[in-house]
Amino acid sequence: MSAAIVEARGVHKHFGGLHVLKGVDLAVRERELVFVIGPSGSGKSTLLRCLNRLEEPSDGSITVDGIDMLDRRTDINKARQRIGMVFQSFNLYPHMTALGNVALALRRVQGLPRAEAEARARQALERVHLADRAGHYPGQLSGGQQQRVAIARAIALEPRVMLFDEPTSALDPELVGGVLQAMRELRESGMTMVVVSHEMGFARAAADRVVFMDGGRIVEEGPPEAIFGNPQQERTRAFIGQIERH
């Protein structure tokens, strides 16, 4: 078993008077795909956003690829290049083409010359099968295509870990497949992934481990067959039952 590449210990997060994360421990091994499920407000997105310090945890420790993410001396901008993130709302830059979206960080953060940055951006777009849309603006792409461009934007930086925050929740049903396909291919290439999502079919097929969160804590975790087929905790059972009925 390989060592943990993501390690969160005792993570707490307060938003004002709201206690959103109540001591979460999560370790993700290299090449592992971890699915995080749970009712809305359970803290799963907040946990994900703490991993790359988009949210500042109130307490606890987070290590990614050997870097202490919460250490003040850590160059957070450098560390974040190793952690790709994909959002529910895509968050593509609307004033840039697909190619421009993917190339921006390659140029400005990694300092590549324009031609090289664009060549690498094009390769990233090819990996999500959108090379032919390189010159399109986000407004000219479907939601599914936009999300795949967002995936390309993240993987272009060759991260060690990818975080997905409800990547298909904002999509029309017929557009979900393309995004899941891109994620499946990413997984096959050996990417370590942490996915917050309700795509249970995908979880069953692709996840190594499913983590169920409720009330700011991890209630139960295990292989997908165990969590979906034979949940041990009452709350897990209730939640699985609810989403299976849909």
Binding site: N77, Y93, H95, V109, Q110
Partner: protein, 226 residues
Amino acid sequence: MSFDEFLQAFFSLEILQQAWPILWAGLLNTLLLSVVVVPLGFLGGLILALLGTVHSRWVRWPLIAWVDLFRSLPPLVLLVFVYAGLPFAGLEVTALTAVAIGFFLNTGAYYGEILRAGIESVPRGQVEAARCTGLTAAQAMAHVVLPQAVRNVLPDLISNTLEVVKLTSIASVVALPELLFQARQAQSVTYNATPIMAAAVIYFILLWPVVRLLSRLENRQMAGRR
């Protein structure tokens, strides 16, 4: 008054010919003022808008006070104050410098409020996406937020710019002979309204294309295309 007399009083080619060198000098000054004052005001506004993104009360409160002060002061009063007041502080300023300072303070406050609204119109997720790829806060502002912010408030920026160009006529109070000042000089020398009419036409020719552009942009935004 006959029609001929009317023409003679307001649209005399002869008078125009005599007054033209004076008007021309005024026009050049108005252009010079606009070219100095618009970028300066925009720069001032940009500084204020960027300071507005700092979440510290030590920045926020002085900033609000500053913007309120310079939006409340009539630009004319401000200009006289700068021109007549700074010498008492030991700073002799030329008329152009005084106008530049006055507009930097006054129009900067207006451009600043417009740009602030633009920055706030950009969804939070844009910055998050940029920061996630390793861009610094400043890079995210420069490459992701500001281009969208400016585009979102472009009609307001252009509208304000029109006002600023028209407002340059107040430079005459500090004896800077811009277009309107020169036209009035020519009027008083010739006892004829033609120079004033000419100045009006010149302003119109200068600003009308910008007004058209503004309308087109507003229509486009109205149609929901961003």
